[in-house]
Each structure stands twice: as structure tokens, then as C-alpha cells.
């Protein structure tokens, strides 16, 4: 195929340099795929005229599902007929993005046979992205994937593919089992992931501790972030070793503690755990000396999202502390109530965070049966505009 390849001087420039090149990937794929080859052409065209060449949307999918495929059509199909249709399929990744090579090779085989041979490992939500296929290939690819144990992820107004940090699989700080929970929830919400019936997307992400290595608070409607309730576990001797090895414990640890609740006198580290906000900083700096407490669980937060349309939101505290053990009944009941309420009352394309802003957090809590707690807010209201639903009337 390579002899017929159009010149791509702009893209070729991006093959140079030390960082691995996506252009190299496209060219590699192009060796076996006319779609990948024409994709190079489309992108070179874009690099020339500084504008994308894909048409809006496209609704395609596999039968029985309303989600999992992003339809895409070229606006220059005559020039690039092979990518006139160029849909992507979102394949639900295994929790924690762990693989054995045989599974990954299977996906490659399927994809080489039916698609462009290009992937994203992974998409921003976490899915395996199979990048670029024709409409006719959707059903075969889907059939072969399920045959090999893979299923589609979410797209559109569904519960989106949940994802999580590596957690207890390889991290000493995980306050709950992020992988087990994520797998469990993913299975529990299969119907909601595949068949749109919500006002808008609903994302779930789980991080094992406040470091939030999966960026749950910024990117998930429901963010589950590990934390603990008791005291930080301190190995004073190990602190001493850090100090002896040259760490300025006061400047680098104590002075940077957000609640200024630590003191280091050169021999012993004193933590006022009642003031600690469990930010992880001291633990991060001295992993051999400090560990999260033993009474572990998670903080459940709600409402994170990107800026469309009323501005970006970070998730905010809904349940300050929840123990998380299978079968996760408390959490599932909570999510169930949220989906039910927002599903019924939410407007089209209104994320749950925007919904809460519209109806008020207090009313939202009431509707899902949670007690208001001061932990949910930075501070109580400042404006005097308090709603009361009822008032006393004069007797007649």
C-alpha cells in the first residue's frame, strides 16, 4: 500500500523527536489497513487547513444496546472513501487496567481483522477505544468481543464505564478495595451502561485514598475516595530515619500540613489527629513511617463534571465516611435513589451536579433520605434567603 500513500510532510515531522510518535503508530497501522492510511491523509489535510474534517455525531450502534459506539462520518468522503464511516467502539476495560498479554492480543486480532488497527489505550473515561470502523463491522466486532469475554462500555446518557485506581493491587494506601467495588458496580449496572435512560451521562470513579489517582473528584458524577477515621499510624523510628537521611521534616512535612496539626521536635512527630483533614501529604512524603489509620472506608462525593454548560464542578461531599464491604448494599441503595430521583426529575442534558444546584442540596438530601451534615459544606449559608415550605396561619 505504501507506494500509493499521499505525501504527509507535516505529519512526517512528528515522527522525529524522542517521545513515541502517534504518527508512527498510524503509519504502522496503515501498513495493514487502508482506513489507517486514509486517516493519515485526513489528518495531513487538517494540519494544512487547520480545521477538523469530521461531521457532527452519527447514531450507530449494535443491536440491543443504545450505547458503546461513537458514530463518525467524514466531511471529505470523496477524497477519503475508506474513512467515510469511521466509528469508534468503546470496550469496557478490566478494573485497574490490568491485562494478560493473551487477552490483549485477542483484542488486537479482532481489531486488525475488522477495523483500522488503531486504538487508544485508553480513553479518558477508561475504555479501550477501538478507533475507526465501518458500520457493517459493528455487529461482527461486537460478537467476537463478547465471545472473548469483552463487552462494550458506556456512551451517551448512561452510567458510564466505572474506573478506579490501582488500589490494593499495588498500593499500600488503599482504604478500600477499588477493583472489587468497580467490578461489582460495573456488573450491577450493565443495563444502565448499555441502554440510555438517564437525563445525561453519569460517571463513577473510585480512588483508594485522598491522592485520588483516578481524578475522581474532577471527572465523576459519583466519586468514591478512600479515607480513614482514626489516627495516622506513625512509626517514630522511621521518621527519625527520614530526618537522618536529610529530610527537613519541619519545613517539608509540618509546615505544609494544611491544618498545621503536626509538630516535629527533632525526635518525635506529634500529630493532632482531631485536626487532621486526612490530606495524605505527610504520608506521601514519608511512606515508610506513616500510614493511614485502620478504620478505613471512603468519602462519597457527588456532582463532578466538565464545564458544559453551567461551568465545571468538582464533586462535593455527600457521605463523609462509609464503610465499603461487599455486597456494597449501602452504596448501591444510595446510587439507586440518586438515579431514581435525578432520572425522573432531571432535565435533558442536566448532569446530577447541575440538578443539585437547581433543586438545592438540602432538598436533594431530603429526597434521597440523607441527613444534612456540616461536613457537606465549606460553611453554612451566607445569604438570608431561607426557604420554609409551610407557615402558620391565623385561625379563622
Amino acid at each position: 500500500m505504501s507506494d500509493e500513500r499521499r505525501p504527509t510532510p507535516k505529519l512526517d515531522d512528528l515522527e522525529k523527536g524522542p517521545w513515541p510518535s502517534f504518527v508512527r503508530e498510524m503509519k504502522r497501522a496503515a501498513e495493514g489497513s487502508a482506513m489507517a492510511d486514509q486517516l493519515l491523509g485526513v489528518l495531513e489535510l487538517s494540519y494544512g487547513d487547520r480545521v477538523g474534517h469530521w461531521k457532527h455525531g452519527g447514531v450507530v450502534g449494535v443491536r440491543g444496546y443504545g450505547a458503546g459506539v461513537i458514530g463518525r462520518y467524514s466531511d471529505v468522503p470523496e477524497q477519503f472513501p475508506e474513512v467515510a464511516q469511521f466509528h469508534t467502539m468503546r470496550v469496557n476495560h478490566p478494573a485497574g487496567w490490568f491485562y494478560k498479554t493473551d487477552a490483549l492480543r485477542k483484542v488486537c486480532d479482532i481489531w486488525e481483522k475488522h477495523g483500522s488497527g488503531l486504538t487508544n489505550l485508553h480513553g479518558a473515561t477508561g475504555d479501550i477505544i477501538l478507533l475507526g470502523m465501518k458500520t457493517e463491522s459493528l455487529e461482527p466486532v461486537f460478537a467476537e468481543l463478547t465471545e472473548n469475554g469483552f463487552d462494550l462500555g458506556g456512551s451517551g446518557s448512561v452510567v458510564r464505564t466505572p474506573s478506579c485506581c490501582v488500589g490494593p493491587a499495588r498500593c499500600e494506601w488503599a482504604c478500600f478495595d477499588t477493583l472489587a467495588l468497580t467490578y461489582d458496580l460495573t456488573q450491577h449496572y450493565q443495563d444502565e451502561i448499555h441502554r440510555p435512560s438517564l437525563p445525561y451521562k453519569f460517571k463513577i470513579k473510585a480512588s483508594g485514598c485522598p491522592n485520588d489517582c483516578v481524578a475522581a473528584i474532577a471527572r465523576a458524577d459519583l466519586s468514591i475516595i478512600g479515607t480513614w477515621r482514626d489516627a495516622i499510624d506513625v512509626d517514630q523510628e522511621a521518621v527519625g530515619t527520614y530526618a537522618a537521611d536529610g529530610l527537613d521534616v519541619r519545613a517539608t512535612v509540618c509546615d505544609r500540613c494544611p491544618s498545621k496539626c503536626m509538630a516535629w521536635d527533632g525526635t518525635s512527630l506529634d500529630i493532632d489527629n482531631s485536626a487532621c483533614v486526612r490530606c495524605m501529604h505527610c504520608i506521601n512524603v514519608m511512606p515508610k513511617a506513616l500510614r493511614p489509620g485502620l478504620e478505613r472506608g471512603a468519602c462519597i462525593l457527588i456532582g463532578g463534571k466538565a464545564p458544559i454548560v453551567s461551568g465545571a464542578m468538582l464533586s462535593s461531599v455527600l457521605v463523609p465516611f462509609m464503610k465499603l464491604e461487599p455486597p456494597y448494599t449501602e452504596l448501591k441503595e444510595l446510587i439507586g435513589k440518586i438515579l431514581e430521583l435525578w432520572g425522573d426529575e432531571g432535565k435533558n442534558r442536566e448532569r446530577v451536579g447541575e440538578f443539585i444546584q437547581r433543586v438545592g442540596l438540602g432538598s436533594f438530601l431530603e429526597a434521597i433520605g440523607l441527613e444534612p451534615m456540616p461536613e457537606m459544606v465549606k460553611h453554612p449559608r451566607e445569604n438570608p434567603y431561607v426557604f420554609y415550605e409551610e407557615y402558620f396561619e391565623e385561625e379563622k
Binding site: Y47, T88, P210, M280
Partner: protein
């Protein structure tokens, strides 16, 4: 037509357990601590003393099946076929034999994969589709990332920065990813109101949805040539693209006006300071493929100034908070303009409501 009742559906993803190497199964939830013996290499020590070595390699994220197979070959060779990917799309090889680390790294180098991204370093730039696949893109994604990482790779392969540096790119204000909470964010923006195709709009778009989609109420229903369509009060449009998302007949893409903006000081972790949004640093830089030199220079400058001035573990935003925004603008030489001042919904909460002015 296949009978859908008979098809395999709703099986969900493969169970992760089958992909965990034995050492992880043995130490699951029982890790004691970790160290970073060298950039790109982590060692996690279990309570039993078991040691798991992780070698992290940078990835362009856009991978061909050919390259995935090449990665698999390395995982087979060094890790009994076990590997994982990170939340920032790096590749992690999971080893039990420390002697193999150097060999693996050498093989990775040959294959073109740098090793790094751990500790107080720059990790991979999280990014999105850009002109490769998305209809909304105001810029490309992969191209800028490649050009930038070629320049910044030294901060990936070493741990010479004051704190973690998380850079992200999104090709439009939908901000797929955590661009809105990154140390440095590169964001594609449109700057021209939608061009309405009045012919097709009434046929392809739900009018009430279109009108309701606009956060500034710039869109009004009108009749034109006997058709119900809409018009845009252009002076109210701030190019959010929400109308286009619901209505293909209102594209914003425009080569003369699209480009890139740069944002700084966001973060996600709860370490020290609370998570927070990125803030506008540079309102506009042109799309200049293939290497976007203006963008690369601007980001490099930001990294350099921060690296030279921040204290240990001080993320970009924490550093700026300490020195104050006036000094940030002076140190970086960026001009402060009208565009930097918020005028959206919560604008007034960003005004300086005290005389605590850092000069």
C-alpha cells in the same frame, strides 16, 4: 438480522483477577510501603517482604495493534505476560526479578519507549481526540502533545521538579479529561459564533432544545423564508459550543479563529491544598501545526519558572497561591487582560474582596 435475544450481551468486562500476577494476588491489600529507586521504577514492598517492581513507560496512547503486540512481547519476556496501563495512559510492566529491570529498560529504549513519570516528575500528557476523530475539536490533540513531550521529556525521565506536574490537553471546552484541574492545561477554543445553516437547521434540529442549550440566552427562535429557525445574538456568544452539540447545523469550527488557550494551577489530589480548577494564563495562541511552537514555548516557560521558584512538593497552583497572581504574571511575562477576569456565573466570587493584595 441476528436474533438479538440469542446474542451474548451484558457480560461486562473481564474480571480483573484473572489478569493479576501471582505476587499481586499474594500481597493484595497487604502492601507496606514503596520506594522509587530510580525514575520510572517503583518498588512496592509487601508485609511479607515480597517486592514488586514496576517499570513505567511513556505511551502516545494512540497505539496500533502492531505496537500493542510488541509491548505484549516485552511483557511476555520480562513479566510472565502481566502488564497494566495507568490512569494517565502510561504502560506499566510488573516484574518480580530486579535483575531484569535494566534489560527491560534497554529493550524499551530500542522500541522507542522512554521510562519515567514517577515521583515529582512530569507524567504523560492526558489528551483527547482532536482532529483525529472528533467533530468539536478546535485544535489537534496528539500533535501538540508529541511536540511538547519531545521538548519536556527530560522532566519525564528524571525527577528534577519540585512536585508532580500534570499537564493535560483537551481539544474543545467540553474538556474530555481532567483539563479543568491540571497544573498546566492546554485547551482548544473557538472564537467565532456558530455559523447557522438555515436550510438544514429546521430539519435536523429540535428547536426548543437548541434555544434552551445556550447558557447566555444568545439563541432566539426566528422565522426565515417561511421556516422556523434560530438566530444568534453574536455579542452574547462566548463560544461554548453547546448549541453545536445539540444541533449539527450550527458549527463553530473555524480555521481563522480557532486556537489554543493555556491554563494553570489546577490539581486533583487532596494532598496539602484542596483540589481546584485550572485558571486562565494565556487566552489565545494560534494553531500552528505540526509543532505548535507558540504553545510549546509558552508551556516550557511556565514549567521553567515554576521549577526555578517553587518549594519541594509545591504544585504549580500552590506556588502561585503563595507568591500571588501579580507576581506570577510578572515572572512569566504574561500580560494580564480583560479576558482573565471572570464574567460568568460566579464571577463576583473571584474578585479580590479584601485589601490583601500580594504585589
Amino acid at each position: 438480522m441476528p436474533d438479538i435475544a440469542k446474542r451474548k450481551t451484558d457480560i461486562g468486562p473481564p474480571h480483573y483477577e484473572q489478569f493479576l500476577p501471582p505476587i499481586i494476588k499474594a500481597n493484595y491489600g497487604k502492601w507496606k510501603y514503596h520506594e522509587i529507586p530510580r525514575p520510572g521504577v517503583l518498588v512496592h514492598v509487601g508485609e511479607t517482604g515480597d517486592r514488586l517492581y514496576t517499570v513505567r513507560a511513556g505511551s502516545p496512547r494512540l497505539l496500533s495493534v502492531q505496537t500493542i503486540r510488541q509491548i505484549c512481547d516485552l511483557a511476555d519476556k520480562y513479566c510472565d505476560g502481566y502488564l497494566r496501563f495507568t490512569s494517565r495512559h502510561n504502560i506499566e510492566f510488573l516484574l518480580t526479578d530486579p535483575a531484569k529491570i535494566d534489560l527491560l529498560i534497554a529493550d524499551l529504549a530500542t522500541a522507542g519507549f522512554p521510562v519515567g513519570g514517577t515521583g515529582n516528575a512530569l507524567s504523560n500528557i492526558v489528551h483527547t481526540q482532536g482532529w483525529i476523530h472528533c467533530h468539536s475539536a478546535a485544535t489537534d490533540a496528539s500533535g501538540i502533545v508529541k511536540a511538547l513531550m519531545d521538548e519536556l521529556i527530560g522532566h519525564f525521565t528524571s525527577m528534577d521538579l519540585p512536585g508532580k506536574l500534570r499537564v493535560a490537553l483537551a481539544c474543545c471546552v467540553n474538556m474530555c479529561g481532567a483539563v479543568h484541574c491540571s497544573d498546566i492545561a492546554i485547551l482548544g477554543i473557538h472564537r467565532r459564533p456558530p455559523k447557522i445553516n438555515h436550510d438544514r437547521l429546521p430539519k435536523m434540529c429540535e428547536l426548543p432544545t437548541v434555544v434552551a442549550s445556550c447558557p447566555t440566552a444568545a439563541i432566539r427562535p426566528v422565522r426565515k423564508d417561511g421556516h422556523e429557525t434560530v438566530e444568534v445574538a453574536e455579542e452574547l456568544c462566548m463560544f461554548c459550543g453547546n448549541c453545536y452539540t445539540v444541533c449539527p447545523a450550527m458549527p463553530l469550527n473555524d480555521p481563522l479563529n480557532d486556537g489554543v488557550s493555556i491554563w494553570v494551577g489546577g490539581k486533583v489530589s487532596n494532598a496539602r491544598s484542596e483540589p481546584g480548577f485550572s485558571k486562565l494564563a494565556i487566552p489565545f495562541l494560534p494553531n500552528n501545526p505540526p509543532r505548535w511552537p507558540e504553545v510549546v514555548d509558552a508551556v516550557k516557560k511556565l514549567v521553567d519558572v515554576w521549577a526555578a521558584n517553587a518549594r519541594p512538593y509545591e504544585r504549580m497552583g500552590e506556588w502561585i497561591e503563595r507568591i500571588g497572581w501579580p507576581r506570577f504574571f510578572r515572572l512569566t511575562g504574561i500580560e494580564f487582560t480583560k479576558q482573565h477576569i471572570d464574567d460568568f456565573r460566579h464571577a463576583e466570587t473571584t474578585f479580590r474582596r479584601s485589601v490583601h493584595v500580594k504585589r
